[in-house]
Assembly symmetry: C2
Homo-oligomer: 525 residues x 2
């Protein structure tokens, strides 16, 4: 398939007029064609106007039509074939297997949301029938359903060019909720974005939906993203990226005449607690598992284990030694972008130069640009507690081990953590008492708590929470992965005494959509 | 019961040290005793420290214990007896029947939340069991429940001294969710607040809960409220009041190092569409019903019908004439506070002086301070569309009728409305086509849509939405009335492969709490 370097606005492909973006192959530093000229205010306006025009029809599509649309997007992405994988590899430096897996995840995610749309739990139907005889006052008939918020702006992330990008989780969940989507594609992978964007365009046409259901814009710098979030037709924002980028969008969204919700996933160091009995019983295996998780994808996962916390002593020392050996043997991997690599070098440099931090190991050095050499550091609990900067995320395969003097200090470290996507307990049977003490703290700090696993690997399912307290995300009340993400883009509407003929299908007597309903506060069987 | 004029911090009653607040009887302008010395930063800090200390225990109370606590609060409020009604009447000028009804509503609301806690839908339990044989990768065991956000700040509203105040909907739903509450009592009814606050204190003691579950502060000006919202231990805010007050709290909450959600219910003019066939068939009855709703409680309901929209013509004229007659016959009622009365006078004065607005009628004039004389105005659709100021809320019994040239203009008026708590269709069978055209717009504008009723009267039930798009509220995704309000104060946490013994009760195998669960995406029977 030939890339045209164009913006996709509704069913059109339009040449931008602003500064050009060109993908760089981070493995070779080669600049890729075509150039993507950025969108300006005019194109933002066009995309938002189309989204607004599509919203009325799209949000009232039947469950089946909307589910079919999501499934058609998945099929169209698969139909691109190997061109998508090859372009993805060229733009990100990610290996083939990773991108093939990510494509499977992306399409599986779209199909999961199709099943979620069909099941209809998201409608949250509640019916309180009229009670005309009630004393002292009769009760009116009240029925509630959820509707789509309106057009949604989605920002593609750099680290998952498929699963968190143009047709990623934010787009899938917003489309599932009935919201048109305007994507701001990530500048690191415009070609991959165009391919996926055209797949969605084709799905929109095949399903005979209004063209404004989907648009894809590019633009360098922050201007175009800010303009998109400021547009009065946009009603919610999905973002995955840096804390700086996320908080800037939060500010823009809050200073609009009508503030809107921003779902920004930002930063997390994903603490792992190495409890004493687990360390004693299988420290070597833990060290190997840890380094495998740390170095996966050059450490560029939001859930990368960047912080390990244990009790000082021979077992922790043995763990650090073993992990250090594994880090030393780890191959350097190409990072996603020159910018990410530069930030990684800065972060690792800061830790290396820190007078309270010891460097234990660095990974193998390899020729080639933008390579991530894994890094392992150690500090003491007291020093960690004394310096907030040691909690800063180093995006990449760098981790800091915190040696605590005793379990009291370990609990203080837990208590002082910022909000996280995940927190992990490596534990054995004998660690249950300490684990039980830590759990209430970890519940306040993280969206997901793991036992005896590693946080990388985020299952797309119903019970997943990929979220957590600020600054892990801007809104701890939701998840960006899994079926509950659909709730981000919905709001409740109540209908009082509306004639049956005017009621939405979901609320009609006899439950024609056969959805789960709360009737008079009781879950209907 | 003797009022002491004190702040209630945990189980203590403490004299404040800041500027004093004294309630005024708006019916007589008499200053009431005792004086309430305001809280300072020190007392805010104490209340928040106790709330934080209570949070860990309180959020994990059993469903039954928490439900019993809510029911005990209701019983303790009832046990105050007539002292509560009399003090409420003196502080607000509201008639006895209204306050007795409001007490019933407040206690009923607490008991509804007790039943909601017991039912356990709020836990939103989701279980995706492990699939060890799945290819290409096994699935881990993932389980989700919701937990309380943390300590919540609640601001009492002036217009419902019981139902939206110290033990009102925000407090009831936050306590139901497992959040300790720090209330900033409204300065207009400190004595009523103290009585209710002491009832909650007694319930905390009887139920042997940690004292920090509840505190009650007073303070003049905005300083104490801002300090409360800025306190790092506070994790969410409930507010009912003016748009200015609500947006100030939103700004404070957003500029904290850790931003937190604010649920502010602010302003709404509750448009009522008088569709032609309904107007033709029973214009007189509509006029009477309208004025009864308009003047109820001196118009001081958030859902007061402040805007009527119809097609110009003899039927609308007859309606306006009849409504005007009813307004002229309406007695003036004492408003809640001198401040509300002054703002009402300003708002009515602005409309009277507006060169595109005709005054149709004013209510009867009566001696006595702070009386609300109802007011009815008319303007043309084109003029309404041309001047945003005509959408400003006039809190009190003032309404504006908009005469539209045709149904196209009527739809444009609907389209240009700001966010609202409610929108109403007065319709007959022959109006269904027009109603159907309007509904999609009204769904975007309002949280609740009524047919052939009046928006005052907000049922406390499961399907209610008392909310709506900005500026009606700060967050259209929730409701402040009804059982779904519990969701405001919760967030999801996911547990991955946690040993059964460490899992929260709600997530254990065998469903020991017998709650509704989503297992593998399917609602369990």
């Amino acid at each position: 398939m030939t890339l045209e370097g164009k913006l996709l606005i509704g069913q059109q492909a339009i040449k931008g007029k602003q500064i050009e973006i060109r993908a760089i192959n981070p493995a070779t530093d080669e600049t890729l064609t075509p150039a993507y000229l950025g969108a300006g205010k005019e194109e933002v306006d066009q995309a938002c106007a189309l989204a607004e025009a599509a919203y009325g029809t799209y949000r009232e599509t039947s469950k089946e039509d909307r589910a079919m649309f999501l499934e058609t997007i998945a099929s169209e992405i698969e139909a691109i074939g190997d061109d998508l994988i090859e372009r993805g590899m060229a733009e990100t430096g990610l290996p083939r297997a990773r991108l093939e897996g990510e494509r499977g995840r992306t399409c599986g995610q779209l199909r999961l949301f199709a099943s979620v749309v069909r099941a209809g739990e998201w409608l949250d139907v509640r019916i309180d029938p009229a009670l005309p005889e009630r004393q002292p006052m009769p009760r009116v008939d009240l029925r509630q359903r959820h509707i789509a918020l309106g057009p949604v702006a989605v920002f593609g992330a750099s680290n998952f060019p498929l699963a968190f990008s143009v047709a990623g989780g934010d787009t899938a969940s917003a489309l599932a909720a009935g919201c048109p989507v305007v994507v701001k594609g990530h500048s690191a992978h415009p070609g991959t974005s165009e391919l996926v964007g055209r797949a969605i365009q084709r799905a929109v046409a095949k399903c005979e939906l209004p063209e404004g259901v989907f648009s894809l814009l590019f633009g360098s710098g922050n201007e175009i993203g800010q303009a998109l979030v400021a547009d009065p037709r946009i009603q919610a924002v999905g973002f995955t990226g840096s804390r700086r980028g996320g908080t800037a969008l939060m500010q823009t969204a809050q200073s609009r005449p009508q503030p809107i919700p921003v779902y920004a996933e930002m930063s997390s160091i994903n603490p792992v607690f190495l409890l004493p009995e687990a360390l004693k019983a299988h420290g070597q295996a833990l060290a190997e598992g840890f380094v495998a998780s740390l170095t996966m994808g050059a450490g560029q996962f939001c859930t990368n284990p960047g912080l390990l916390i244990g009790l000082a002593g021979p077992e922790l020392e043995a763990f650090v030694d073993a992990a250090g050996e594994a880090v030393k043997d780890s191959s350097a991997q190409t990072m996603l972008t020159p910018g990410i690599h530069a930030a990684y070098q800065d972060g690792v440099g800061m830790l290396s130069a820190h007078d309270k931090v010891r460097q234990i190991a660095r990974g193998l050095s390899v020729d080639g640009p933008h390579k991530c050499r894994a890094a392992l550091f150690v500090t003491r609990g007291a020093d960690f507690l004394a310096d907030e900067a040691l909690q800063a995320e180093v995006f990449g395969a760098s981790a800091l081990v915190v040696e605590c003097a005793d379990s009291e200090e370990l609990r203080r470290v837990a208590d002082q953590l910022e909000g996280q996507l995940t927190a992990t307990l490596q534990m054995d049977d004998g660690d249950q008492a300490l684990a039980r003490q830590l759990l209430p703290t970890l519940e306040r700090k993280a969206g997901r708590i793991l036992a005896n696993g590693w946080p990388t690997g985020v299952e797309v399912c119903h019970a997943m929470v990929h979220g957590g307290p600020y600054p892990a995300t801007s809104d701890s009340r939701t998840t960006s992965v899994g079926s509950a993400a659909i709730q981000r883009f919905l709001r409740p509407v109540c209908y009082q005494n509306l004639p049956e003929r005017l009621l939405p299908e979901a609320l009609k007597d006899g439950n024609p959509l056969t959805v789960s309903r709360l009737v008079d506060g009781k879950r209907e069987k």
